[in-house]
Symmetry: C2
DNA sequence: ACCCAAAATGCAAGAGCTTACATTTCCACT
DNA sequence: AGTGGAAATGTAAGCTCTTGCATTTTGGGT
């Protein structure tokens, strides 16, 4: 008997239940559209066969996948994890599934992943940051696929975004360092290509320097790939300069932890001998030794809002509004005044 | 003109190029099956229209999605990241895309995610560990979807796996601790429900205790959810016992780092006052202070092998072989002999 | 009993691609 | 120039679902 059918289709259920496929389809999508007796029969048929609707077929028929795709630069760190989690939770509430892809900070790869997501009929897309080939946006727009950029708030742009002001946030932190008396500043940035977040953070540091009448020649900027190890390496490089900077501003907590670690290896006390700051305020920052002074980013809030906005765009065909979230400095133990030499 | 068509289909390309859809399809799947002149025309038509093949339709037609799904317990930590990365890389080589879902260590959710993946026509599935409702396996088997379990090697089972012997690995580490003179042992395990990896690791500790003639009453076992914070909390709990354990074996590095952190807060020196060990050997372990003595797991190798095996099952319809990978202890600074009290 | 609107169900046409099979085109040889 | 077989292309069915429209059933009201 039909029990053996490896992947039962709607038609099999229909036959077994003695109704038409239309009825089964209706039953599946809204049991109330079917009379009690039929409902029973279908129910029985469905689980007798172990039927599961075929996603691809449904997508084709309704032109709607209830899937939204997120493309993040990396999964190897916890940076995007919390936000993404919140994003998923919120979307789940609304019945959407999210597909996650990572681009390894590579614009080419990112473009490809976005295409893949689109080919998979994603109803909406969430890339991180803004910087990318305009063709991508154009293509998405033509296909009428809502896009929400996250992790970076940009006021003057066609694409909606939910994020924060990377530049101002970093400027605030740099300001604080400078006011503490720091002059020479080392910067370990995120990768900057195709990543305006990193560039804006650097800009923020420059802003702060300028505001305080510091020559930009006091800044030494490195941008190694995003990994703990690289933070350590960059720290070494910075420390081998003629005049050692007394404060190292890092583009994110992961890099900062690497720096911290290397400082310890070099026998440097933080923050007595050198200060180190992070960005993001992930769990790691709290646990590091010494605990990292960093910029707190409202990860979950960002994820939630991004999801909500996307749903709004999807359900109401609205253009999508941008939201700017606040960040704040979390003062812990890794930033202090420079020791008087 | 047809430029306006929001989502061009194969037929549009065909019309514009003046050929049949079959030809376009062939061109798309293997340009060489089409004569030069046609190729040019199609090429032009495709990018004039900005055509992208519709995935759902293709899947329906060929019954093959070139997609494989991975379900991991969590993305919030780096634990699975490296392995997953390798898994993706290897699969990418073979033309597969991987879809990642996380289950938040919740069996219900995991089952749902697996169903979703199947509905999305995943050609194969990679869940972490073995423990799960047999119905899931049965369903997958019926649909003839290859499954590969990772992170846990199990010899006697229907399902292929690539992983390591969690029990033996942990036993080895526990043995080392005991030989150093430790008697009272605190254990901060991973969550154990639906997670035989965690349970096996605990079993390993018990094995070691028994082997060394230690009463099991010397063990105190906690299994908080998997987060740095919880590791810290658990550590406090362990330390508030009548007789404080002098060594804390943790189910993974993340928990261990939490413990380490709390130890420092409590003014306890590691390993002088208390030893702490991890499991997994993620980057964090190297960077922690003191650096964590832990069990090295061949993450990338595991991911790569899992991918290769899955591809083999897929392409050659083979039953799928299990692979057992070796682990080893990485001795760093967090494990030492108990201080003589 | 009978009528009729409302409710339930059925029919069949898509949705966009692949592919077996049929047809046409091409070219090397005689 | 004529022929045969390979190469290129076309035709149309099929994959699994949804849904507009047509048809049948139901049940309350007279």
């Amino acid at each position: 008997m039909s029990k053996l059918c490896p992947t039962p289709a709607l038609a099999d259920v229909a036959k077994l239940a003695g109704v038409s496929t239309a009825t089964v389809s209706r039953y599946l999508n809204d049991p109330n559209r079917v009379v009690e007796a039929t409902r029973q029969r279908e129910l029985k048929a469905v689980d007798r066969l172990g039927y599961t609707p075929n996603f691809a077929a449904r997508v084709m028929a309704v032109k709607r996948s209830w899937t939204i795709g997120a493309i993040i630069p990396t999964m190897e760190n916890a940076i995007f994890a919390r936000g993404l989690q919140a994003f998923q939770e919120e979307l789940h509430q609304h019945g959407y599934t999210v597909l996650v892809s990572s681009s390894a900070y590579d614009p080419e790869l990112e473009a490809e992943k976005i295409r893949t997501l689109v080919a998979h009929d994603a109803d909406g897309v969430l890339p991180i940051g803004h910087d990318r080939d305009p063709k991508i946006y154009k293509d998405l727009a033509r296909r009428d696929i809502p896009v929400m950029n996250a992790w970076s708030f940009m006021a003057y742009t066609q694409i909606a975004s939910v994020g924060f002001d990377n530049r101002a946030a970093m400027a605030e932190l740099a300001n604080r360092a400078i006011r503490l008396g720091h002059q020479r500043i080392g910067v370990i940035s995120d990768i900057t290509t195709g990543n305006e977040r990193a560039r804006l953070r650097i800009e923020g540091i420059r802003d702060a320097a300028r505001q305080n009448g510091l020559s930009l020649s006091n800044l030494t900027i490195l941008d190694p790939p995003y990994q703990i190890e690289n933070g350590a390496e960059a720290f070494s490089k910075l420390m081998s300069q003629g005049i050692r900077p007394k404060v190292i501003l890092c583009g994110n907590d992961v890099l900062a932890v690497g720096a911290l670690h290397r400082a310890r290896d070099m026998g440097l006390k933080v923050p007595k001998d050198v200060s180190v700051t992070g960005f993001d305020d992930i769990e790691l920052a709290r646990v590091a030794a010494p605990a990292l002074t960093t910029v707190h980013v409202p990860h979950r809030e960002m994820g939630r809002r991004a999801a909500a906005a996307l749903v709004d765009m999807l359900e109401n065909r609205t253009p999508g509004a941008s939201t700017r979230l606040a960040t704040h400095i979390v003062e812990r133990q890794s930033l202090g005044p420079p020791a008087s030499t």
